[in-house]
């Protein structure tokens, strides 16, 4: 239960799932006070430390200056470490962090596909995106299986790796629809039972109840 000594947070991002979702889930699971700002864009671009979003502002309870950091992965790791969703053991943490890093590669591959103009380019980039997504799903599936097939990637509790994996699939199923209307139809057949179980485990976690379905019910969409 958050006390008056814990910091409060502002997340500045667009009104989208995108790279903000994992941060929202971590803030919620951490049970801290937080709000979200959606700056006018691009008008507010020069006012951000790196000219980009997301930005996290941590306000301490004792009035010391705000702590401001950028870069979505960095913000996620900071919150995950601070609130116990990444292990303190460096090796175990690294095994979870690489899950997030490869996730960025999937997102980048998708962005490359969206940008492609010629039919030839579109085809090649879509294949590249499919290949990396398949690989990602295969690795995650194996990890879930070796963790006792409980719908979690590591250990017995909601972890950083679970959260970022969920957010990736939320983008694949809901967030990216505005870029490719049939993305869910393409991704659904690729989902293994283990991934589907992870999605539902995250979506039913009491720590996330306040917020997880606000951006949509992914389990429902998948089973439809």
């Amino acid at each position: 239960m958050a006390t008056t000594n814990t910091p409060s947070y502002t997340l500045r991002y667009f009104e989208a799932i995108g790279l903000g979702e994992s941060i929202r889930l971590l803030l919620t699971a951490a049970n801290v006070e937080w709000t979200e700002e959606h700056p006018e864009w691009p008008q507010e671009k020069p006012n951000q430390p790196f000219g980009r979003l997301p930005v996290l502002i941590e306000k301490s309870a004792d009035g010391s200056p705000d702590f401001v950091i950028c870069e979505s992965g960095n913000i996620e790791r900071y919150l995950a470490r601070t609130y116990g969703f990444l292990p303190t053991d460096l090796k175990k943490a690294a095994l979870q962090e690489q899950v997030r890093d490869i996730m960025s590669d999937v997102g980048t591959a998708f962005a490359g596909y969206i940008r492609a103009i010629s039919e030839e380019d579109k085809k090649a980039r879509f294949e590249a995106f499919g290949e990396i997504l398949d690989k990602y799903i295969a690795i995650q599936t194996k990890t879930i299986q070796s963790n006792g097939n409980t719908g979690r990637l590591f250990g017995d509790n909601l972890s950083y790796a679970d959260i970022v994996t969920y957010s990736l699939f939320k983008n694949m199923g809901i967030g990216f629809v505005k870029f490719k209307a049939d993305i869910l139809d393409i991704v659904k057949p690729k989902l293994t039972p283990e991934i589907i179980k992870l999605i539902s485990t995250v979506e039913t976690d009491p720590k996330l109840a306040k917020i997880v379905l606000k951006s949509g019910n992914l389990s429902a969409l998948i089973s439809a």
Binding site: P49, F50, G51, R52, E58, F67, I69, C70, E71, S72, G73, N74, I75, R77, Y78, R81, T82, L90, K91, A93, A94, L95, E97, Q98, D101, I102, S104, D105, T108, I117, S118, K135, I139
Partner: protein, 223 residues
């Protein structure tokens, strides 16, 4: 320097500077036994955990192994293990965000280089210019506020110092085969303070074993 009892490391990557120069610097500064492997590619692709490079293998004295992928994860793991990132998560995040932003700059660099239409190239160039200028200004501001001008944070070699060096080395010295103005693009944004910092990194005894064998980044960016 005693390395018995310490793990040894293998870094698997292609035989070029690429995205792992920072890893090489960290392994060197960590004063551990390490080697580099250059797997046949793409023959060895499916043998890698994520089908990609780099891969880091840490072999402990008891025979156990940790295998990691993803360059940024590997960098942070090495930096934390060897003490080049602060223990405090907030202070660490301040250094990590700089490296994370570098990825966006790389991406825009390669995007502007490989798109086809003139319009795409123009937009790509503007975006790269915006991101690269911005990140260099951020580094310059950090140097201004640090009382020690030989380092970005504190008075010792840090992850931030090494990752800036690796980043500028890739863009400024080893991207000429992609575009022949790469070095000029980087040079144009260098300040005396940043070049001084790069000189300190280049002269750091902790990095002698590796940088002693390489051409000087500072010379490349100064001539």
């Amino acid at each position: 320097m005693a390395t018995e009892g310490k793990p040894s490391y293998t870094l698997r990557y292609f035989d070029f500077i690429g995205i792992v120069e920072t890893c090489r610097l960290l392994l060197t500064a960590g004063k551990v036994n390490w080697t580099e492997e250059h797997p046949e590619w793409p023959e060895e692709k499916e043998k890698q955990p994520l089908g990609r490079l780099p891969v880091l293998i840490e072999k402990r004295v008891d025979g156990s192994e940790l295998v990691l992928s993803e360059s940024q994860t590997i960098e942070r793991f090495l930096a934390r293990t060897f003490g080049f990132l602060p223990m405090d998560p907030g202070q660490s995040a301040i250094q990590e965000q700089l490296r994370d932003q570098q990825s966006d700059v790389f991406y825009s660099f390669f995007y502007m280089t490989f798109v086809h239409s003139d319009e795409d190239k123009k937009l790509g160039r503007e975006k790269f210019n915006d991101l690269f200028t911005r990140i260099v200004n951020i580094y310059a501001d950090i140097l201004k506020t640090n009382s020690c001008k030989n380092h970005l944070f504190g008075d010792k070699l840090s992850y931030a110092d090494m990752s800036l060096y690796g980043f500028l080395k890739l863009l400024g010295m080893h991207s000429l085969r992609f575009r022949d103005d790469a070095c000029e693009l980087v040079k144009a944004k260098m300040t005396p303070e940043i070049l001084h910092l790069l000189s300190s990194v280049e002269a750091d005894p902790l990095l002698e074993a590796h940088l002693g064998k390489c051409d000087s980044l500072v010379s490349a960016l100064s001539e």
